[in-house]
Symmetry: C2
Subunit: 156 residues, 2 copies
């Protein structure tokens, strides 16, 4: 299959300069869109949404640390071995991150957001409004216990 080339639309400015596993809940960041390609028209109406979905490139993850197989999440032997596509681990093929965060403010091409789990300088590939109808019925959602345990402090 042919490779796909993407151009970042902007960058994350975050107080976090190193990746950490947990405690993203109170992190306030700014996504700054590329002013050579976009204008405030590109985000017109975005503040009518409380949350946005951000696609970003985990560019600080070294190529040679990417895995395609199974492992214990966070190397915790108490949790089962699971495949890379059954985890949210960042050492993944294509190193894409997808996160939902609260949109606090839009100032020109700067989007102030809360709880975005991306570090300083991270290239952003897309921003979409968070839309209720794209989400499953919470009553139908099922996930394994290990994931619930792993997420305990993620957004603390």
């Amino acid at each position: 299959m042919a490779a796909i080339t993407l151009d970042p639309i902007g960058r994350v400015h975050s107080p976090r300069i190193e990746a950490k596993d947990d405690f993203w809940g109170d992190v306030i960041s700014v996504i700054e869109l590329d002013s050579t390609r976009f204008t405030p028209e590109s985000v017109l109406g975005l503040t009518d949404f409380s949350h946005i979905l951000v696609v970003f490139h985990l560019d600080r993850v070294p190529d040679d640390s990417v895995v395609s197989s199974a492992s214990h999440p966070r190397n915790n032997p108490d949790w089962p071995r699971v495949g890379i596509f059954a985890q949210r681990k960042k050492h993944r093929p294509n190193r894409l991150g997808v996160s939902i965060c609260e949109l606090l403010q839009v100032d020109g091409l700067k989007l102030k957001v809360k709880a975005l789990d991306a570090i300083e300088g991270t290239p952003v590939l897309d921003i979409k409004p968070y839309v209720r109808e794209f989400e499953p019925d919470p009553a139908q959602v099922r996930q394994p216990q290990w994931m619930t345990e792993l997420m305990r402090d993620y957004f603390s």
Copy 2:
């Protein structure tokens, strides 16, 4: 900012061969992972999740139809002009799609899913398990009325 090159991890096989705006709810598709790079270990444990998040490339959207500014969604003058990043429109920079779908079955490298809004042949860039804790509190989510109206038949 430097361009980013991604390699598709697989492809969508869908009964839909053309993009349509609505009625994705009953579409059953198969995501087939690239067997030259992955093994069933890559999706080990995935069936413990009811839903998956799929990142894909909207490769049939012509480059010259991509917009970076504002427009009326679906050209409907009754809805406000909104920026490309305040819409889910597919003619967007980097042409990335992100969707949640129900995981019905995993058979080797074939993932059978329900309600994936991607057409036959679409390159897949990542698969992540859908995890409750990554979602906002539904009581805190706000979206404009035009989007609720637009989504009315999307997953019918």
